[in-house]
């Protein structure tokens, strides 16, 4: 869409990309006179269902391949999706780490208030993946709906430890402390991006995707803790 005298590119992006894509959008606007980038953030599954229901998106950046697959299943992609970032898990603990968590194995302690994502959501699936790879059975006190909910429990001190993405730990700043663990490499989450079919501004959309994949784009992402695709 867009006004007569102003061109707009609408980018639907996973909420975890908020900071990075805001940076990328202003970079893009600086390079393209008279072009505005509209950013719509939300859960990847919400975004997909909105595009499926006629939301006017030009670009879609998903936090996982599963939701991108829903889009391609409906043939709504303008091009083949491309992976542009990866993310791995980290243990998040309150800044003072009350339970003295230092490894993935510590999470199996039944006295610990453990908070994970539910297996149904991507971060939960990933958590299950690393646990299985390490041969552990984790018994969480709560299986949250989203990373934000896990972080909320940790920052408030309600939970002693949780498994979230590296980028989330970084974004949360001083409120949580991240504990790295080697098994995290076993499960890598991939972020794909694509233009959307029927986009009014397919050229600009394509250029935005290229910006994300470009070196400068990748730098913004890695600064925020994302891994390379």
């Amino acid at each position: 869409g867009g006004d007569d005298d102003d061109t707009t590119v609408t980018v639907y992006a996973a909420a975890s990309l908020k900071k990075t894509f805001e940076q990328l959008a202003s970079d893009f606007e600086a390079d393209h006179d008279g072009v505005t980038v509209e950013l719509v953030f939300g859960g990847s599954s919400d975004l997909v269902s909105q595009i499926q229901n006629g939301a006017e998106a030009d670009v879609f950046a998903s936090a996982d391949t599963a939701n991108m697959d829903k889009l391609t299943a409906d043939d709504l992609q303008g091009q083949d999706p491309q992976d542009f970032a990866t993310n791995t898990l980290q243990i998040a603990v309150p800044p003072d780490n009350p339970a003295d968590v230092s490894s993935l194995q510590d999470l199996a302690d039944p006295a610990l208030d453990l908070v994970l994502c539910a297996p149904d959501v991507p971060c939960g699936a990933a958590a299950q993946g690393v646990a299985e790879a390490a041969g552990l059975t984790l018994d969480p006190d709560s299986e949250e709906q989203s990373v934000t909910d896990v972080l909320g429990k940790i920052t408030s001190g309600q939970g002693d430890a949780g498994l979230v993405y590296v980028t989330d730990v970084l974004a949360a700043g001083d409120d949580v402390m991240g504990v790295e663990f080697p098994e995290s490499a076993d499960v890598v989450n991939t972020y794909p991006i694509t233009t959307v079919e029927d986009s009014d501004e397919s050229d600009l959309a394509q250029e935005f995707v290229e910006l994300v994949l470009s070196d400068s784009g990748q730098k913004v992402l890695t600064d925020a803790g994302f891994g390379a695709p």
Binding site: D120, V121, D141, S142, S156, Q158
Partner: protein
């Protein structure tokens, strides 16, 4: 039998009323139309769905009871007394209505959580409310209480005071007046307030997920289950939502049977 007849309604009100009803009805029809009926039964009778429904019914009932127990006195104090700062108190009581439930959940976490305002004192007593069913009820009470208080306060204000005065002049003390006059006369307001509170508790999601977390059989109520299913199996989510709707219709219907005046 002779029948007292009501004054006719202006004809034109039927038009906006029907539009409004349609506006609410159509989305419900759309949901029903979305349901994948072939798998419907299997979806809604799965172990996790039944657990979630049962938890929802239990917690909603509990929170409705709590709402009545503390909401009736609150409505009474607001409707029948005046004290400095009453306006502020009334606004505060209504706030959970306007607070996005997630923020409400956060607020509860900051209060009753492990490191919350009074969480430590609670922990001294030996229990944590965290990640427990009690937390679910607390979250539901927090969001549902204003409904009960507002409905009942309205009913208390419109009816009754003249009769309370008569009762007092016949020698009835405040408690007698309350139990035998105030409460029976405000019963329609109380019933509709309780139904609203129950309905709101049944649909509660944001505060619960934030404050109580989501564990099957303990804190994962039906709305949380719906939300979770939506990630992987939208059909199941729709089916469960329909279950919620049916339960709500039944409850509202039953409440109306008990009292004609909801």
């Amino acid at each position: 039998m002779g029948q007292t007849r009501a004054v006719g309604l202006p004809r034109w009100v039927v038009v906006p009323a029907a539009l409004g009803a349609l506006f609410v009805l159509l989305p419900l029809v759309a949901i029903v139309a979305q349901v994948d009926w072939s798998n419907f039964w299997g979806l809604i009778t799965s172990e996790s769905s039944r657990t979630a429904l049962w938890l929802s019914l239990r917690t909603s009932t509990a929170s409705t009871v709590v709402c009545v127990l503390i909401g009736v006195p609150m409505a009474l104090v607001l409707a029948r007394t005046s004290f400095p700062g009453q306006g502020v108190v009334r606004s505060v009581v209504l706030l959970p209505l306007v607070l996005p439930p997630v923020v409400g959940g956060l607020a509860l976490l900051y209060t009753f959580g492990k490191r919350g305002l009074i969480g430590q004192s609670i922990e001294v007593v030996g229990t944590t409310v965290a990640f427990s069913t009690i937390a679910v009820v607390m979250a539901q009470v927090f969001v549902a209480l204003p409904f009960l208080v507002v409905s009942l306060e309205g009913a208390l204000r419109t009816g009754g005071e003249r009769y309370e005065v008569v009762a007092a002049s016949l020698g009835a003390g405040p408690t007698t007046v309350f139990l035998r006059v105030t409460l029976p006369l405000a019963m329609p307001g109380l019933v509709s307030g309780a139904v609203l509170a129950f309905a709101r508790s049944l649909g509660e999601f944001g505060a619960t997920v934030t404050f109580a977390g989501s564990k099957e059989g303990v804190t994962r109520t039906l709305p949380l289950e719906i939300y979770l299913q939506r990630e992987t199996d939208p059909d199941a989510a729709i089916a469960l939502a329909l279950v919620l709707v049916v339960v709500a219709v039944l409850v509202i219907g039953l409440a109306r049977q008990g009292r004609s005046a909801l």
